[in-house]
Symmetry: C2
Subunit: 549 residues, 2 copies
């Protein structure tokens, strides 16, 4: 079994090195054509074969089959999954756990890397699964659901392996005691925390789950993966591949199990509070995040929840490029990214740009115009916005229209069967905090007329500090401003992107370089990935005894 | 200021290396004579000068002076300390924090190391302060309160520095995009969590507080140290030295503050729940530990609480040495160590030894005899047992007498003025779990008559798993038994000491080698020290912007 570790050692070394240097690095190509000419077609065919059938997953003790996924692009998937009782899932995990824990870090790491490599080969199938559960456009579903998620999983493997490597195995302890010497032999063992519960979300089922899944696996914890009932398929495929590899390597496949539930009969709360669950990872609403914080005690809990992301516009050297960049950030996946900006803080007297002074209204209308231009033509638009994952988001857009002056209205793309909505852009006075200072998930954003740039930055950093934020951006011509405000953003626990134009967007968080969710504001603490994200997933036990002289 | 970092670099490198290798290493000598001929006398004189006076600590906004420490060896200390309102403490910490956070890891580490070196020079004064607050015998107060505590503090510095070193500063991120290249410059910054609250205990005020204090400091958090009202002096001296060094280095001394309270008017709960407090470290009772877990949400909480430590006696190759070793472990500081054994699980049919078969009663009476021999003569005894820190412990001994058959009774040493009690040793049937399966703090232990060794190990590991444990020991002649049971102890989250005889005891936990408190059972999660103990004390913020081509 050490074979897999040796086989993938270069991959691991590359990832460990990248995690230290945090420059650009990627193990899994985001370029579709590198997967071969037939990969896309094969992926589609494999996806279509799954539709309308029971999903083949040989888990023990299923008590029923459930599943009601509907593509945000229209069709019902018609796939059912085996549902098991929490008791059965936990019993199976407890049976599978000991030999996994005792396998050692290298063997487990080899298995985890093999799972990632096989997931990578299935990237086109995964792209379809992610597309038709989350509503992401295909290109994004491929990248974010496939290679980018795999990179994030690999990053967690690298961090976890690194931390475990710091624990020595056998050690001779020799302490001088007068002229004599006291000698002990000590053995140090990695001890997993218990069963890891990973609760997935409906918008990024793989990207947001892989870090926890793989960090748990490598540190020796059995894992129960609880997908969102609207986005089961991507994680069902993931679990199936993980179980295949485990079985081939003579492990009990119940080291990784899928826990399926329904909107009507959820099981996350029941699982999370079981004493056998030693770790909980959750991506989703602040409401359930708060519930978990209240009820899940004495075990590590990692969350990614809501936030109010912001852009402060103080000025720009390239007005058109700035508007285009912001337009794309607001439109991409219809603002359904945890990294999408919601508040654009702009001085009410306007800003200084390469095209001269621009009034608040000119900034607003130029961004609106850039969105219109970007989304001209439903097909091109759909490739950017994708579909709306949850019907509740449409209702939220409807309500939001009353919260300010509509600068740009949201509209359906009118694509047959697909639930779509372009960005709604509202202008509000800074005093209307009740409108913009809470997360309004989806393609809803606010141009907030501030007293000046100082006021804008105060509001942006306060929003992050008090309501949470995962991203922040700043546009300015003042070369010294970013340095001056960096400590404010740092204290607010939010990474800051400055003057982004061209092919890089505030929404994008790159594995091995960008830390995602700092843990220093209410948006959560599931940093992808730092030492704190992995080091709590195991403890160290020691056996010591007098050494033979 | 980088001067201090350079000055102490060798110390830091030694500690980092020791923390990786985890063999024997110590920076601060535990041998009194290495401190010079006059050090002991100077320490005593310095201590006596403090008695009966207001303690000189120039903290801002004191509202009163309080202090009612009484030496467990008799005299009242008569020292008063400035008490400040939590609001004032937090306001002062918030004022001091930014420049400390911005000073950078190396500068902070240099300051922390200088504080440790000065604490080391004050080890004899500290020994008296620890002796007359905790009741530890002088030799132990010197070692555990001085150099051993300093080593634990240094270990935390090394771990924290190591983790921060893994975050790069400035990075160029270059991603190929077709034939072009997207370039970003990224800067990564260590961001402290807020103010660290360190709540000390009455038995090991320095040893149990230094890891958190120094880990917080090095990671950039201002610290409020809240000593136990019965053991203020050791931490007051510590804070005073820290503030001296901070002031000399042109930092606001309020980076480290002392928060004094009284038994009647405690402030730990009020402080811990303040939003400005970003981290809580606590050593003390399970009751307050549970309260903190319930009320301190969304911030890291590290605790060391109660537990039921055990020794399983399956057999021995050196019966006399085993009995002597156990006698010392039970007698040392009158069982008031978090590492002291409470339950001795022994097969009811007796054990196999180098002196032939020994019945359960023979094992019991031999251990009792070894205690009597060790504690023959009140002066010699006092040097081992020290005094009883809390009068409640005497009442607990009194109650405990009814919990089993008294094999060896506890008694006062009859030393003038000192509150003393020798070990109480009770024999009980294994079924009497209500007697022995909860912590009975102090010199109270149980010889539990088990069905056999398997039963003994089941009970010992279950006690650890369900009630918590910080240490466990096993005596056996069966060469394969330790290996067979190691996974059970590992899963119970407790380090295991096998066949200890001679000059090493289960109570002892050595910095840079033994992990203290695993986090995998209810005894707490304040591992001294692993990566999880330090990595949660800071987060990383990033500023990224397009790179100049």
């Amino acid at each position: 079994m050490a074979g897999l570790f040796e086989e993938h050692r270069e991959l691991l070394d590359g990832a460990r090195n990248a995690a230290r240097e945090r420059g650009y690095w990627s193990a899994f190509s985001e370029v579709p054509r590198t997967y071969g000419e037939t990969a896309r077609e094969e992926g589609r065919a494999a996806f279509e074969k799954l539709l309308g059938k029971p999903f083949d997953l040989d888990q023990s003790s299923p008590e029923a089959r459930v599943g009601a996924e509907v593509s945000p692009f229209g069709p019902e998937l018609g796939i059912t999954y085996p549902r098991a009782h929490p008791d059965a899932l936990i019993a199976a995990a407890l049976t599978a756990a000991p030999s996994w824990a005792e396998a050692g870090a290298e063997v487990r790491t080899g298995v985890a890397l093999e799972i990632l490599v096989r997931l990578n080969r299935a990237s086109f199938l995964m792209a379809h699964a992610v597309e038709h559960t989350t509503g992401q456009a295909f290109a994004m579903a491929f990248q974010a659901g496939g290679p980018h998620a795999q990179d994030r999983g690999l990053e967690a493997v690298a961090y976890a392996f690194e931390e475990m490597s710091r624990v020595p195995g056998e050690v001779r302890w020799e302490k001088p005691a007068g002229r004599a010497m006291v000698r002990l032999d000590k053995g140090f063992f990695i001890v997993p925390r218990g069963i890891g519960l990973v609760i997935g979300c409906a918008t990024f089922p793989t990207w947001n789950s892989y870090p926890a899944l793989f960090a748990n696996l490598v540190t020796g914890n059995a894992v129960i993966v609880k997908p969102h009932p609207a986005a089961i398929l991507p994680l069902a495929l993931t679990v199936r591949i993980a179980r295949e590899v485990l079985k081939e390597q003579a492990f009990d496949p119940d080291v990784v199990q899928l826990a399926v539930d329904t909107q009507e009969d959820p099981i996350a709360a029941a699982l999370a509070t079981r004493p056998e669950i030693g770790l909980v990872d959750f991506t989703g609403s602040s409401a359930f995040g708060a519930w978990l914080r209240e009820h899940v005690r004495g075990k590590p809990l990692f969350t990614e929840e809501a936030g109010v992301n912001s852009i402060v516009i103080d000025g720009t050297d390239d007005f058109d490029a700035m508007c285009q960049n912001i337009a794309f950030s607001l439109s991409l996946y219809s603002g359904q990214m945890c990294t999408a900006p919601q508040c654009l803080f702009v001085p009410k007297e306007g800003i200084d740009t390469n095209l001269g002074h621009k009034s608040f209204d000119e900034v607003a209308s130029s961004i609106a115009g850039a969105i219109d231009f970007l989304l001209a033509g439903p097909e091109r638009a759909l490739a950017v916005t994708g579909a709306i994952q949850n019907p509740a988001t449409l209702a939220r857009i409807e309500e939001a229209r009353g919260l300010g002056r509509v600068v740009r209205d949201s509209a359906s793309l009118g694509v047959d069967g697909a639930r779509t909505a372009t960005p709604l852009l509202l202008a509000v006075e800074a005093g209307r905090e009740e409108a913009y200072m809470e997360e309004r998930f989806g393609p809803i954003s606010f141009l907030v007329a501030c007293a000046d740039s100082t006021d804008a930055i105060e509001r942006a950093t306060r929003a992050a500090r008090t309501r949470g934020a995962i991203t922040a951006a700043l546009y300015t011509r003042d070369a010294s401003l970013p340095e001056r405000v960096a400590p404010l953003y740092a204290r607010a626990g939010v990474p800051l992107s400055v003057n982004l134009t061209g092919g890089i967007y505030v929404n994008q968080s790159a594995a091995f370089s960008d830390y995602h969710v700092t843990g220093a504001n209410p948006a959560g603490n599931a940093c992808l990935t730092d030492a704190a994200f992995v080091a709590q997933r195991f403890t160290v036990a020691c056996v010591r005894r007098p050494a033979a002289a």
